[in-house]
C-alpha cells in the first residue's frame, strides 16, 4: 500500500470511442503507477492512503499529443500566410538549423518543455531536429519534467538546404549513436524519425529499417498531408502505388514496427487498407491542416473503419500546443467536411474527440489514456470555475465548456503515477 494514493474529483474518461464515462466526486486510486480503480467511497484496503481532494474540479486522463515539432515551438504563429512546402523552406528549415548551437537549443527547448509541462498533455511524440546533442538535451529535459514522451532525432539527407542536411552515412551513424545514448532514460524513449519521404533517400530509409529491427525502436513520420507533396513523392518513388508504400517497403509502416503517421489528409483506399492491416497510428492535426492549406482528413471515417487515431498539435504547423484546441478544431473541421465534401459522414462529437485525445493516441504508449484498471496513471485536474456563467451546468456541460473555453492549463498533473505539479 505504500505506493498507493488517490485523487478525488469529478472523473471523466472514454472507455470506447464516442462513449463518455463520468464519476462525480469519486476516488481514483493509483497503485504502483497504474490505475487501481474508481470508487465512490474509499475501500477499506485503501484507508490511510494519501488522498488529494480536488473538490468540484474536473479530472481527465492526461491528453496525448501524437505529433509535435519541439524544434519549431519558437515560431508558432508565424509565417501562416504560406503553403506547406514554402513554409518549410522559408520558416521551418532556417529555424531548425539553429539547434546545431547548444545554447540556442537549450533556450528554445526550455521554453517548449515548460509550455508542455504546464499544458494538459502528459505524453507526446515529438520531432526534435536532426542534431543529436540537442535531441538528447530535449530528452533530458522531458525526463527531468517527468513527461513520458517519445522523441525523435530527425533524419534528412536530401531535398533540404545544405545547412540542414546530413549525408546518408552520417545520418545513420548519428542515429545509431543517439539510440545507444538514449538507453538510460527512465520515462523518455527514442523514436526513429525520417522527416518524410522527400527528405530521405532510399539508402537512408533502408538503414533506418535495419536500425528499427536491431533496436526495436518505433517510427514516426508524415504521410499524405498535401497534394503537392503527394505528387512529389510519386515522382521520387516511381515504383509505389501510394505514398504509404514508400515507408512500407523499408519495414517502416506498422506491423512489427509501431508507427505514427501524421496527417493522412488525402490517404486513398489502398493506403487506408494497409494502415488498418498494419495498425499504423494516424496523428490527426486539424489546425496545421488548415494553416498550411492541406485540407480536412476524413477522421470520422477513419474511426468508423477501425483505424487507430490520435490528435496532434503539430506545432508549428499548428500554432497551439493545447490538445483541447485540437479537439475543437477536429470537431469544427469535421463539420465543414460534412457540409462541403461528404454529407454521408456526420461530424465528430465531443466524446469522439476526447477519445482521440486520450485513449486513441494513448494506445501508442501502451495502456495509456483511460482510467480503467491497469492503465498508466496519467491525470490532469482542471478548474472551470473561472469560466463565468449564470447557468447551472451538468457535469457533461462543464466538460464541454472546459474543452471549448479554457486555456488548457491544469491546476495539477500526474504522469505514470508521478505528480508533476
Amino acid at each position: 500500500m505504500q505506493t498507493a494514493f488517490a485523487v478525488k474529483g469529478n472523473l471523466f474518461y472514454t472507455p470506447v470511442c464516442g462513449k463518455l464515462a463520468r464519476y462525480p466526486g469519486a476516488y481514483l486510486v493509483c497503485e504502483n503507477g497504474t490505475v487501481a480503480g474508481i470508487f465512490d467511497t474509499l475501500p477499506d484496503r485503501y484507508q490511510g492512503i494519501l488522498v488529494e481532494d480536488y473538490g468540484d474540479k474536473l479530472i481527465l486522463p492526461g491528453l496525448v499529443d501524437l505529433h509535435v515539432h519541439g524544434g519549431q515551438y519558437a515560431y508558432r504563429g508565424l509565417g501562416m500566410d504560406m503553403e506547406l512546402l514554402d513554409w518549410l523552406e522559408k520558416n521551418a528549415f532556417p529555424e531548425e538549423s539553429r539547434f546545431a548551437e547548444a545554447a540556442y537549443a537549450e533556450a528554445a527547448y526550455h521554453i517548449f518543455v515548460d509550455a508542455l509541462l504546464h499544458s494538459a498533455t502528459t505524453r507526446a511524440s515529438i520531432f526534435a531536429t536532426l542534431h543529436r546533442p540537442a535531441t538528447l538535451r530535449l530528452m533530458e529535459m522531458l525526463e527531468q519534467a517527468g513527461l513520458p514522451c517519445f522523441v525523435g532525432k530527425v533524419n534528412m539527407d536530401r531535398n533540404s538546404p545544405d545547412y540542414l542536411r546530413e549525408s546518408t552515412a552520417e545520418s545513420l551513424a548519428e542515429t545509431r549513436r543517439w539510440l545507444e545514448e538514449s538507453r538510460d532514460f527512465a520515462v523518455v524513449r527514442p523514436i526513429l524519425t525520417p522527416r518524410f519521404t522527400p527528405s530521405c533517400t532510399d539508402d537512408l530509409m533502408n538503414g533506418l529499417g535495419k536500425l528499427h529491427r536491431e533496436f526495436g525502436t518505433p517510427v514516426q513520420s508524415h504521410l499524405s498531408e498535401n497534394l503537392s507533396e503527394i505528387a512529389w513523392v510519386q515522382q521520387l518513388c516511381p515504383g509505389t502505388r501510394f505514398y504509404g508504400e514508400a515507408y512500407a517497403r523499408f519495414g517502416l509502416f506498422g506491423g512489427d514496427c509501431p508507427t505514427i503517421m501524421a496527417h493522412c489528409v488525402w490517404s486513398g483506399e489502398e493506403e487506408r487498407a494497409l494502415m488498418k492491416e498494419q495498425g499504423v497510428f494516424i496523428a490527426h492535426c486539424p489546425q496545421s491542416n488548415m494553416n498550411v492549406s492541406s485540407g480536412i482528413a476524413p477522421v470520422k471515417q477513419y474511426l468508423r473503419e477501425g483505424q487507430k487515431v490520435g490528435l496532434g498539435s503539430d506545432v508549428a504547423g499548428g500554432a497551439h500546443l493545447s490538445i483541447f484546441r485540437a479537439m475543437t478544431d477536429a470537431i469544427q473541421c469535421s463539420k465543414l467536411r460534412w457540409r462541403l465534401v461528404d454529407q454521408d459522414t456526420p461530424a465528430l462529437t465531443l466524446p469522439e474527440a476526447l477519445y482521440m485525445a486520450t485513449k486513441g493516441g494513448g494506445a501508442f504508449f501502451g495502456k495509456v489514456g483511460s482510467f480503467e484498471p491497469g492503465y498508466q496513471f496519467d491525470a490532469v485536474v482542471l478548474d472551470d470555475s473561472t469560466l463565468s456563467t449564470t447557468r447551472s451546468c451538468t457535469l457533461d456541460e462543464r466538460l464541454e465548456r472546459l474543452v471549448y473555453l479554457s486555456d488548457g492549463r491544469p491546476c495539477a498533473k500526474y504522469a505514470a503515477g508521478r505528480k508533476l505539479f
Copy 2:
C-alpha cells in the same frame, strides 16, 4: 489643447484592405476624442500634453465585433454537437427566455459586459433578447463601461416557442417604447433587430421598416447562414427571388437604412449584387459557421467585389468573444475554402483579416477602426512579452504572433477618446 493626449508605442493599422501600416515607437495623438495624427517626435503644439508611454508594446485600433448575441454569452461553448435550427430550439431559445427576469439579466449581462470590456473589442453590434427592460439594462451597463455599441431589442412574433414570442402589436409597441427610452444614451445606440425572417411576420417587418423611417435607426439581422434556413425562408416568402429580398421589400436592407447582415455564407449572385448596391455590411462569423455546420462564406470574393465586410464573434454560435480568434478562424476557413471549394480564390491574409476586424467593420460606426486623422480614438494596447520565444521577431512578426497566440486581453484600452482601463 486641454483635451489632447497621446499614447506611445508600436502602432499598426490598415489604411486599406490588405495593407498594413506600422509606426515603431510613435506617438498617436488624440484631440477631442479623435485621432489628430501619428508622429515620430511630438510636435511643438503638443508639448506638455499627457503622454502614456507603453514602451515596446503593440497598439492597434480597437477591434470591432459586428455580430454578437449578448443574451447567449452564458452558454458559449455548449451544445456544439447540434446544427443551427436544433441548437436554436434546444439551447438559444430557452436561455434567452430567462432574460424576462430582471435578476437573471442583471447577472448574465454583468458577465458579458465585463468580458467585452476586458477584450480587445471596443465596438460591437449586439443582439440582446426580446425583453425591453433587460435590453435597456444592457445598454446602461455598456454606457457605464464606455463601450460605444449598437444594441438591439430582438423582434420575433412567429416560429418560436410560446415562452419566447411576442404578438406583432406588442413587438412593435415595445420596440417604439424602447427606441424612445434609448434616446438619452451618450455612446450606446439602438439598432432594430428582427431576429431573422423565419421569426418575423410580414406585418412585423413592415412595422419595423416604418420605425426605421421615423427614428432613423439602423438594422441588423441574419442572412443566408444555412441551407435549411434558406429553404425555409423560400417557403415563408414565396414571392422573393432570394433571401435578402425578404428584408429589402420592407426597406430593411441597406440604402438609406444602414444594415448589418450576419453570415452571408450562401449568398448568390443576385443577393450579392443587391448587398453591394445598397451598401449592406456583411458580418463574417467563421467560428459560428463551423460550429453550427453552416459552411464557409466566400469572404475573399466579397472583399474583391467591394462589399463591406467586418468580423463577428457570433457568441454563442461562436464560443469565443475574441476578434483575434475570429481573424485566425477567418484565415483558416478561407484556406479550406481555397482547398476544397474554389481554387481560383486565394486565402485571406493577416492584413486583410485585420482590416475586416478594424476599419472594415468599424465603418458601420462612422470613422472608426483606423489611426488616420479624424477617426474616433479607439485603441488597444497589447503586451506580447509573455509569448516566449527565442526568435527576435520583426514588428510584423510580433503582430502575427499576437493575433494567433494571445488571449486577446489588452493591458490598456481606449474608446472614443476615453481611457476605459
